[in-house]
Amino acid sequence: MAHPILNVEEVTKTYDGFKAISTLNFYLYEGELRTVIGPNGAGKTTFFDLITGRAKPDQGNIKFGPSDAPSHDLTALNEYEINRLGIGRKFQTPSVYSEHTVWDNLVLSLAGSRGVFASLFHRLKSSDHDRLDELLNLIRLSDKRSWKAGQLAHGEKQWLEIGMLLASDPKVLLIDEPAAGMTDEETHRTGELLLSLAGKHSLIVIEHDMTFVKQIAQQNTITVLHQGTVLFEGRFDEVQENPTVRHVYLGRGKSK
């Protein structure tokens, strides 16, 4: 397959003696949409924490190696440095600036300088305005641009955060449970959005809702995490039919 943009090798992370991540090996290829599933406590969120610099691994390597830019050892960088390389993260509970308007939320996320002094004299260019309008259309919040983000419904906040992620034009998007709190229709639209992003961006999506997983996984690979390590990797049907996976995960009646 293509070039791996994210290499996670032999990574272990322990919290107070509990192995949240245990000798994990994971490769994400450029343009891929990968879905990660696993029961509660499988280490999915810790996995994102390790990639984005919120937590440091006890052992192992995490390398970011896009084909068009120099590669970096992510374990040596902090949150904002990793984000500047082009790795964006959407949190499980929508994390938006509730006292800012939808518009300002996006302005803050727009790709560009992040320096203190640059921010003092920052002006939006007309191309920025176009980009913001385009994003507002995409996340269907055009008519709510002057609303405070705190006033949006849960699903709208999720969309806003996805929009914020896209505004920074990242190479890799890490998306934690995007469909939580959404109606079926919204969930479906979210799935379509994510599918449309694959190819241009590389994505890892953590999800519980199996209908949604089925929609976005299609011909893409699903990684099943269990007790901090990869239990199985394969297509949706293979995952569904695998007896070990059925035992630890689907076997508990999670399959819809």
Binding site: Y80, F91, S98, L108, S119, L120, H122, G150, Q151, M164
Partner: protein, 399 residues
């Protein structure tokens, strides 16, 4: 909530700004023109002008607290320290201007003679220059804030821990300044000032001049902070207050932003202190105790946290009340202050500046009462929550 008309959300903010500019222009006209003119004609007493000069320098302290606490979510209890440092730096110049007119008729400050010095300590010498003293008013607190802030924000010290640390810094500094061997007047600090730039400080005209300068500095500071708020920097600042994690994961080095605000706030407080000293005529270590920082927090809370106009009104209003209450009921003042804080936290979390909006909502002036109240709800809730949280954190730090 989804019935709120988005257009209704833009309108109030722009008209609110227009009202605020109007209020500021009115205050500026009264403070900078009407009062001085009335003073020259003998209608307003010199005492009143002097008192208002003090209120205005306190307003600068309040702005510095608001810039940190209101706009960035950093409750600093060290602002009284920066205020005092400004007072001391300017005070050193004023002490030199006494010349040999002190009690001991020696060319060095009295307390140095008392300590057995016959010559001026070398670090005092450059303070003969007004320009040097003013440079120090900016540099000393700025540098202290930079070093302290760099260490604190790098280590990601947040919330109540940051408050406690700034309180500890202030406490340590006051102990240091109480010592005679620091050669800054010890317990008594600096007083008995005589001249500033050749003008006699006891002349009403000099005091009036200082008062006007304070008013102008306050106005310029207000305009600067308004501008800062309108920039992308201001957006990041308030984003840090409401979701620091998101800021970090959006590529912003939040620590650098906080450091910048902390340094700017320290300088604003220091300039306030530098203007306070010649008008009040004394600066000593009791000005840098934590109570003073806490008092400034109360001014901001009473005026309206994070509103810029509120803290100015709060500082003037509460101090005006204090001037009256300490004369009328000297023993009950602290109870007044505590009561005021509790009332504001419980019943008016948005402070004085939220009163008109509250009234409008209460009596349904605009015929859009329902829309307004629904829209205001989440805001008021968070305001109450933060106010209570702050009250709690002040409680813990004070104990």
């Amino acid at each position: 909530m989804s019935i709120v008309n988005p257009a209704a959300r833009i309108l109030p903010s722009s008209s609110r700004l227009r009202i605020e500019i109007g209020v500021i222009a009115a205050i500026a006209a009264v403070v900078l023109i009407v009062l001085p003119v009335l003073n020259m004609q003998g209608v307003v007493s010199n005492f009143t002008i002097n008192l208002w000069g003090k209120y205005l320098s306190f307003a600068l302290l309040a702005i510095s607290v608001d810039l940190l606490w209101g706009a960035t979510g950093l409750l600093s209890l060290g602002q009284a320290l920066f205020f005092s440092l400004g007072g001391y730096m300017h005070g050193m110049y004023l002490m030199r201007m006494i010349g040999d007119l002190g009690q001991y008729k020696k060319p060095i400050p009295d307390f140095l003679v008392f300590l057995g010095w016959t010559e001026l300590p070398s670090f005092w010498k450059p303070f003969d220059s007004f320009a040097f003293a003013i440079a120090m008013v900016i540099l000393v607190p700025g540098l202290l804030a930079f070093v302290f802030g760099y260490l604190a924000f790098r280590s990601r010290i947040k919330g109540v821990y940051f408050s406690i640390l700034t309180q500890a810094l202030t406490y340590a500094a006051s102990i240091m300044f109480f010592r005679n061997n620091l050669l800054l007047g010890g317990n008594n600090g600096f007083t008995d000032f005589k001249f500033i730039l050749g003008y006699n400080l006891l002349e009403p005209a000099t005091q009036r001049g200082l008062y006007i300068v304070t008013g102008v500095v306050l106005l310029l500071t207000y305009i600067f902070c308004r501008w800062l708020r309108s920039t992308k920097f201001g957006l990041v600042q308030r984003a840090i207050r409401d979701g620091e994690n998101r800021v970090l994961f959006s590529g912003y080095a939040a620590a650098n932003y906080k450091l910048f605000v902390f340094v700017v706030a320290a300088i604003i407080a220091s300039v306030g202190g530098a203007l306070y000293t010649p008008q009040v005529g004394i600066i000593n270590p009791s000005a840098m105790t934590t109570d003073k920082s806490l008092e400034a927090v109360v001014w901001v809370a009473v005026g309206g946290r994070g509103t810029l106009l509120g803290p100015i009104l709060g500082a003037i209003g509460v101090n005006w009340l204090k001037s009256w209450a300490t004369r009328a009921y000297p023993d009950q003042w602290l109870i007044f202050l505590g009561g005021l804080f509790i009332i504001v936290v419980l019943f008016l979390p948005g402070g004085i500046v939220s009163l008109p909006k509250r009234m409008a909502a209460l009596f349904g002036f605009h015929g859009t009462k329902r829309e307004k109240t629904t829209a205001a709800e989440p805001e008021t809730e968070t305001a109450t929550a933060t106010a209570i949280e702050t009250a709690a954190s002040i409680e813990t730090t004070k104990g």
